[in-house]
Structure formats: structure tokens, C-alpha cells
């Protein structure tokens, strides 16, 4: 059973996903860029980790960095929200390989 979810996103969708997690008693892990240090999703998560510079390629799209945070924080699942890594089959496969539950379709069905 999922007990701790990393939300690989920002803004209103990160908050939206956290709202349900809280209602279900699931712990949340936020990630954020330099630009988002004062954002609500950082404050509302159980734990928050800085992952890089403002440009998406250097933060919210940085799969290796996000995987590091998943492993070090002990998250057992990841919710990608929409945009960013949500439909990236490489990322879904990376999660599968590291035994992290990707909350979404399998990497193979993304490729259809």
C-alpha cells in the first residue's frame, strides 16, 4: 500500500494531489526549483526538497535528481501531475525499475 507519495510537479496541481493524499493519511514529498522556494506546495508537503534551477530542464524535468529524492526520502510512489514528466515513458520505466509505484499508466501503455 502506498504510504508516501512524491509529487513531481508544482503549482496548483501539486496542491491538488496533496489534498487527496492528506485526506487519505498518505505522507507527501514536494520538490521545488529555486524559483518556487516560497510556493505553497513546498509549505504544505510533509517534506520538501530543492532540486535545482528555475528552468524546467534543470529541475522538474531532471529525472535523475527526482529519483535521488524519491530514494532518499523513502517515497514508495510518485504522482507526476500533468505536464512535465507525466507522459514520459522513460521516467515511468525508471520508476518501475527502482520499485517506485508510478501513479498512472504503465510505461508500455503510454507508448501506444
Amino acid at each position: 500500500m502506498i504510504e508516501k507519495v512524491l509529487i513531481a510537479n508544482r503549482g496548483e496541481i501539486a496542491l491538488r494531489v496533496m489534498r487527496t493524499c492528506r485526506a487519505l493519511g498518505i505522507k507527501t514529498v514536494a520538490v521545488y526549483s529555486d524559483e518556487d522556494a516560497n510556493s505553497l506546495h513546498v509549505k504544505q508537503a510533509t517534506e520538501s526538497y530543492h532540486i535545482g534551477e528555475a528552468a524546467p530542464a534543470k529541475s522538474y524535468l531532471n529525472q535523475e535528481k527526482i529519483l535521488d529524492v524519491m530514494l532518499s526520502s523513502g517515497a514508495d510512489a510518485v504522482h507526476p501531475g500533468y505536464g512535465f514528466l507525466s507522459e514520459n515513458d522513460d521516467f515511468a520505466r525508471l520508476c518501475e525499475k527502482n520499485k517506485i509505484n508510478f501513479i498512472g499508466p504503465s510505461a508500455d501503455s503510454m507508448n501506444l
Binding site: M1, I2, V5, R10, G11, E12, I13, A14, L15, R16, V17, R19, T20, C21, A23, L24, I26, S33, E35, D36, N38, S39, L40, H41, A54, A55, P56, A57, L61, A77, H79, P80, G81, Y82, G83, S86, E87, N88, N101, F102, I103, G104, P105, S106, S109, M110, L112
Partner: protein, 335 residues
């Protein structure tokens, strides 16, 4: 139409009408996709004019149980970027809902899809549905489905990821009421929808019966130029379409965002229009009905009313002041 596999929210799409445009379109979609997600793959689709965008929410668990959770109509768009969504669609009746919905479920079964997905269609004027794609993610417009179904779609995603069977069957799902979503973007309608960014010193978020607002805004926050312009999803529900629409108009009036330009004024004009009220929707709605010009007229009228009201108030105040002064002095002390 050329469309990046990794696009979304209207990005990574070009309409090409001849060979010359094809090369240019290919290059720009490729460039945009690589800049946004670091890779590129392109789909080619037939482009239909005067269409409606209608999509179906679908859910399938790991045990092979599949349901559709009704349709959403997302025809009000600008350059393939959705602006306003609603459910039910005014052109989908009970029979169509069940027929297209079961097609979507069959497709999900055929490929062994798991979790939530959205099957997007274009509906031509003659009522035919053309399949576009399945979006393998939660959609920005998911709250309108939550309102009419009573479900929490993120909870459903988590339950499915946990390997639990869907706790209901198709026949248990009943559509209740009408929901509308407006995507509140930080952009300037009159500057070709250019992003408007910077500090937001103050904000007031609408609430009330049948009003939901998902937002990251708080007084003193900043709208960043690095990310998507979506600041808030404003969603209303009503027992009738008109109740939902009236609640949205009131909520748009109540939404105060200081410091950046927003799409709120445009949405007030759209929701107040007869065409929107009558459900005459199409993906070229803004252009077809001259909505941006009508917004400019509405703003001009509003400004005039405001300045007339200010003059009337000033005159009333000066009359009141005069009478008070005269009253206090007994007879006018100054001639």
C-alpha cells in the same frame, strides 16, 4: 495537423495546409518539443473545421474492470489550448454517451490500459466522432468530472495503483448536475495572450455553494515566467446549466488578483454571451463570435458606467454637503 507526442495544453501543435508549411511546421514542432521535454516525436492528423472537442474520462483497474466517467466538452480553446470546459456536453445525449463511452472502454480493454485516461475526440457538425488520442494522465479539467460524478479522481488513481479493484460498476455511475471550469491564466488578452508575470501583492479567492477553486495563489506570491500560465482552475456546479453558469459569472466577479493581467475579463464576456448560453460551441468559438472585440466593447462600457457613477456620486455628495452646511448655519453664511 502536426502534433508533438509530448505536447499538451495546446503546445507543440501546428496546422499545415501545403508542402511548404509542412516543413516549417515540422521544424517548429520538433524544436518546441525538444526545448520543453528534451525529445520529439510527431503525430499527423486530419484537421477538421467547425468541430467540437469532446473527450471521455476512462478508468481501468489492474483486474480488467473498465468504466467511462462521462464526457467533457472542451470546445472553447485558443490555438488548441483549452480555456473553458463543461460537462455534460449540450450535444451528447444519453444514447451517445453510452455508445461512445463503451467504445472507449473497449479500446482500453484491447490495449490492457491501466489507471485513468482520457480519450479525446473531435465531433464534426454532422454528429460524427473522430478519435484523436488517449491522454495517459490526469487532465487539467478533471474537477468538472469530479463534480458531476461525486468521485475523487486522484483517490481513484491511488487506489488503482495500489492494485485495488474499482469499487463500482458502470451502472452505478450517475451523472448529477452541470459543471463548468474556467482556466484562470496569467496572460494579457489584448497582447495576443502574452504571459503576464510578477508579484501578486493581494488576492481574493472566490468560494460559496457549488464553487471550487484550485490555485497556488496567496497574497504576496509571485507568478513565475518560467512555467505554465495557469494560476487557478475555477470550477462551479449547479443543478441546472444556468445555475452553474450564474455561479461562474459571480465567482469570476469575486476573483481579485492584484498585479498581473488575467483571462477573467474574457471569460465574463464569453459566459455572458447568448452563444455560450445556448450551447453553440465550436473549437473556433473565439474567432467565430468575435469574442475579443466584444470583450473590448464590454470593458469600454464598464469604464463609462464607472465614470458616470463616480460623477453622480460626487454630485450627490456636494448637494448633501451644501445642505448640511446651510442647515448648520441657519441661513447661508456665504453668498
Amino acid at each position: 495537423m502536426l502534433k508533438s507526442v509530448y505536447g499538451g495544453g495546446g503546445r507543440g501543435i501546428r496546422i499545415v495546409r501545403d508542402d511548404g508549411e509542412l516543413r516549417k511546421g515540422y521544424e517548429s514542432v520538433t524544436g518546441e518539443s525538444i526545448a520543453a521535454v528534451g525529445k520529439s516525436a510527431i503525430l499527423v492528423e486530419k484537421f477538421l473545421e467547425k468541430t467540437r472537442h469532446i473527450e471521455y474520462q476512462m478508468a481501468r483497474d489492474k483486474h480488467g474492470n473498465t468504466v467511462h466517467i462521462f464526457e467533457r466538452e472542451c470546445s472553447i480553446q485558443r490555438r488548441n489550448q483549452k480555456l473553458i470546459e463543461q460537462t455534460p456536453s449540450p450535444v451528447v445525449d444519453e444514447e451517445t454517451r453510452a455508445r461512445v463511452g463503451s467504445l472507449v472502454c473497449n479500446a482500453a480493454d484491447a490495449v490492457g490500459y491501466t489507471n485513468l485516461g482520457t480519450a479525446e475526440f473531435l465531433r464534426a457538425d454532422n454528429g460524427e466522432f473522430y478519435f484523436i488520442e488517449i491522454n495517459a494522465r490526469l487532465q487539467v479539467e478533471h474537477p468538472i468530472t469530479e463534480y458531476v460524478s461525486g468521485l475523487d479522481l486522484v483517490k481513484l488513481q491511488i487506489d488503482i495503483a495500489n492494485g485495488e479493484p474499482l469499487p463500482f460498476k458502470q451502472k452505478d455511475l450517475k451523472m448529477n448536475g452541470y459543471a463548468i471550469e474556467c482556466r484562470i491564466n496569467a496572460e494579457d488578452t489584448f497582447l495576443d495572450f502574452a504571459p503576464s508575470t510578477g508579484p501578486v501583492p493581494d488576492v481574493s479567492i472566490p468560494a460559496g455553494p457549488g464553487v471550487r477553486c484550485d490555485t497556488y495563489l496567496y497574497p504576496g506570491c509571485t507568478v513565475s515566467p518560467f512555467y505554465d500560465s495557469l494560476m487557478a482552475k475555477l470550477v462551479t456546479w449547479g443543478q441546472t446549466f444556468d445555475e452553474s453558469r450564474s455561479r461562474m459569472l459571480a465567482a469570476l466577479d469575486d476573483f481579485y488578483i492584484q498585479g498581473v493581467e488575467t483571462s477573467i475579463p474574457l471569460y465574463r464576456t464569453i459566459l455572458g454571451s447568448e452563444e455560450y448560453k445556448n450551447g453553440e460551441l465550436s473549437t473556433d468559438f473565439l474567432k467565430r463570435h468575435g469574442m475579443i472585440e466584444r470583450l473590448a466593447e464590454d470593458l469600454k462600457k464598464e469604464k463609462k458606467q464607472k465614470s458616470e457613477a463616480a460623477v453622480a456620486a460626487a454630485m450627490a455628495y456636494s448637494e448633501y454637503f451644501k445642505s448640511r452646511v446651510q442647515g448648520a448655519g441657519g441661513s447661508g453664511w456665504r453668498r
